[in-house]
């Protein structure tokens, strides 16, 4: 408890427990596997949103290209699964057996060199982290060392998202093109399409998500986290206090990219395919909206934002397919204009005070005789 109360303050602890209850207990008990799998899909975006909280909310670095890293993680996982699904036995009807089906359709007769290491599962796991880390480092170093920031950075990340989409679509023989990498079956021999597998994968994902939450909270609480805030406000003051601002921005951007990539890899496992439609400009902006709706300064808000917006997206687009995009746009405008701190801001401004008052009145009724003073109680 002592460690907890230092790592999370009281309201964060409530947020942590509530989210853990919801994701570990309530949802798995109350939803069927199909709906649980949908939640799992929504949660893959929560990884991206947590990264954006650090990078955008705290550091002020707005990336409109997180889909790139989501996609890189997702494609790394998809390449491994695809190779496993393309065993010689499975693909004997192809003109070149043993290579992925889309390569065969594109008259490629040999597995390209960059696909070969993805036969190895440990390599794939490393690649899911290292490939996006490497790309984000290159992009970050190129931009931040030259002092490119703000809107210009956002626009460039958009361009990168567009470029990567075009590249994937254009290089159909190597990437599966517009359809993406589909028909994924097993992970290390374990069939990921069964209900049981989906159930297990959901829990693996939630554990990973909580790992990311704790990692993000750790970063936020160190001096690094305070420097992020300082940089957002007065970049020059940080620079003239002896810090290399570019290095701090690069690290925040890389951390956000790695979180996004973990989400992308889980997306591939949960949904069973990966395609360029999760890489480009539109999904990247949607990911920023999830963060904004949840509250860009709140790690838990990011998770709630991803869950709720995606839930609304699914239910609304089932009944009004044309209206959904307008709804999303309106939601974004409403959040920016009326609730700049999103759901977490609403919670802290309107709900939390009521709870505090309620707790305080109950405590004063109970009297002070019990000898235990809660940390929120006034001293003396």
């Amino acid at each position: 408890m002592i460690i907890n109360s230092r790592f999370f303050n009281r309201s964060e602890l409530i947020g942590f427990v509530a989210l853990a209850l919801l994701l570990f207990v309530i949802l798995p008990l109350s939803l069927d596997v199909f709906r649980l799998n949908l939640v799992a899909k929504y949660l893959t975006y929560a990884f991206v949103a947590i990264g954006l909280v650090l990078c955008w909310g705290y550091g002020g670095i707005l990336s409109l290209g997180q889909g790139v890293f989501f996609g890189l993680g997702g494609y790394c996982m998809a390449m491994y699964l695809k190779l496993e699904a393309s065993s010689v036995a499975n693909t004997k009807i192809q003109s070149t057996p043993g290579i992925p089906d889309f390569m065969d359709w594109n008259q490629i007769t040999q597995l390209p060199l960059f696909w070969k290491p993805f036969h190895s599962f440990p390599f794939t796991l490393l690649a899911i982290i290292l490939v996006p880390a490497f790309f984000s480092f290159i992009i970050g170093a190129a931009m931040f060392k030259r002092r490119v920031g703000g809107v210009y950075f956002a626009i460039i990340t958009q361009a990168i998202a567009a470029i990567l989409t075009i590249l994937i679509v254009g290089q159909q023989g190597y990437t599966g093109g517009i359809n993406g990498i589909t028909d994924l079956r097993t992970l290390h021999g374990w069939d990921i399409r069964t209900d049981h597998a989906k159930f297990i994968l959901y829990f693996v994902e939630v554990v990973l998500l909580f790992g990311c939450i704790v990692a993000a909270q750790f970063i936020r609480l160190t001096k690094f986290g305070r420097i992020l805030v300082a940089m957002r406000e007065k970049e020059d003051r940080v620079r003239f206090s002896g810090y290399s601002v570019a290095n701090f921005k690069i690290f925040a951007f890389c951390a956000a990219a790695i979180f996004a990539a973990i989400g992308g890899a889980m997306f591939t496992l949960e949904v069973g395919f990966m395609s360029p439609s999760f890489v480009g400009i539109v999904p990247s902006i949607e990911m920023v909206i999830y963060t904004a709706v949840g509250g860009r300064m709140s790690i838990f808000g990011a998770v709630w934002g991803s869950l709720l917006v995606n839930f609304a997206k699914t239910s609304l687009s089932e009944s009004f397919p044309q209206l959904w995009l307008f709804g999303l746009g309106a939601l974004f405008i409403a959040v920016v204009l009326a609730f700049p701190n999103g759901l977490s801001g609403i919670w802290l401004d309107y709900v939390q005070p009521h709870i505090d008052r309620l707790l305080a009145s109950r405590k004063s009724k109970a009297g002070w005789g019990d000898g235990s003073v809660a940390d929120g109680a006034p001293a003396e």
Partner: protein, 251 residues
């Protein structure tokens, strides 16, 4: 290259410094020397290039030509953060503090430890840090506001906070750009007292318009005009220089 090699005891040696913005020479062939423990005030009319000189020394603006030697190190070749680490601290004209952080956190960020990415991730708020932050907070009259968010401070308190942030950095050369501008009379007196205390054991370069204040603190005064030195010496000498009276003090 150096015209007349300068003896070592100068802390800061600015020589033939020139910066031109699209042909306009904001600072033109400027040379001056600051000794250890000297308090130098730069005065001059608007647009004389005073702030540009500080920008050049701290690396915010890159020099077109000339050299800035600080303890034998050539500053024009260093990055801003390396210049800070070499021992040069800079206060900006408008209070430049982090409003979303507390006074404690503002000061802590300037504490000269854990300035790399991994250093800041593993930084511990230990007794030494707390003690130093509290000591400085007391000096800058903000001891009882240490957990206040900086956006709630008054203008004068913000100026003090930034001075405190420099103080905790412990630079050998402290550069202050109009430290008393916009302050009330009582705040001004307190600031003079504060500055007099913190300038011990270091050199200070101050830009200021307030002549009373300049007379109080300056060892030597440099008058800049159109990017060049118009006059230099003690306040007494500068005050009686007819050229200075004409372009600056006269009106």
């Amino acid at each position: 290259m150096l015209i007349g090699h300068q003896p070592k005891e100068f802390l800061l040696a600015v020589e033939a410094l020139t910066v031109s913005f699209d042909g306009f020479k904001a600072v033109n062939d400027l040379s001056f020397y600051v000794e250890e423990n000297e308090i130098r005030v730069i005065i001059g009319p608007n647009g004389a290039g005073k702030t540009t000189v500080l920008d050049l020394i701290c690396g915010k603006t890159k020099a077109t030509s000339g050299s800035i030697q600080f303890r034998g190190k050539e500053l024009t070749k260093l990055k801003e953060n390396q210049i800070v680490q070499a021992g040069v601290g800079r206060k900006f004209q408008t209070p430049s503090i982090y409003e979303d952080l507390t006074v404690f956190e503002n000061l802590e960020i300037s504490y000269p430890r854990g300035r790399t990415v991994f250093g800041s991730l593993t930084f511990q708020r230990d007794a030494a840090v707390k003690e130093r932050v509290e000591e400085v907070a007391e000096m800058i009259f903000l001891k009882d506001r240490i957990n206040t968010y900086a956006d709630q401070l008054s203008h004068g308190q913000k100026q003090w906070l930034e001075i405190g942030m420099l103080l905790i950095q412990n630079p050998d050369l402290l550069m202050l750009d109009e430290p008393v501008a916009g302050m009330s009379v009582s705040e001004r007196a307190k600031t003079a007292e504060l500055l007099n205390r913190i300038i011990k054991d270091r050199s200070v370069l101050v830009i200021e318009h307030d002549m009373k204040f300049v007379e109080d603190i300056a060892h030597k005064v440099t008058v800049l005009h159109q990017g060049q030195i118009l006059s230099e010496g003690t306040m007494e000498k500068v005050k009686n220089d007819p050229k200075v009276i004409e372009v600056y003090l006269g009106h």
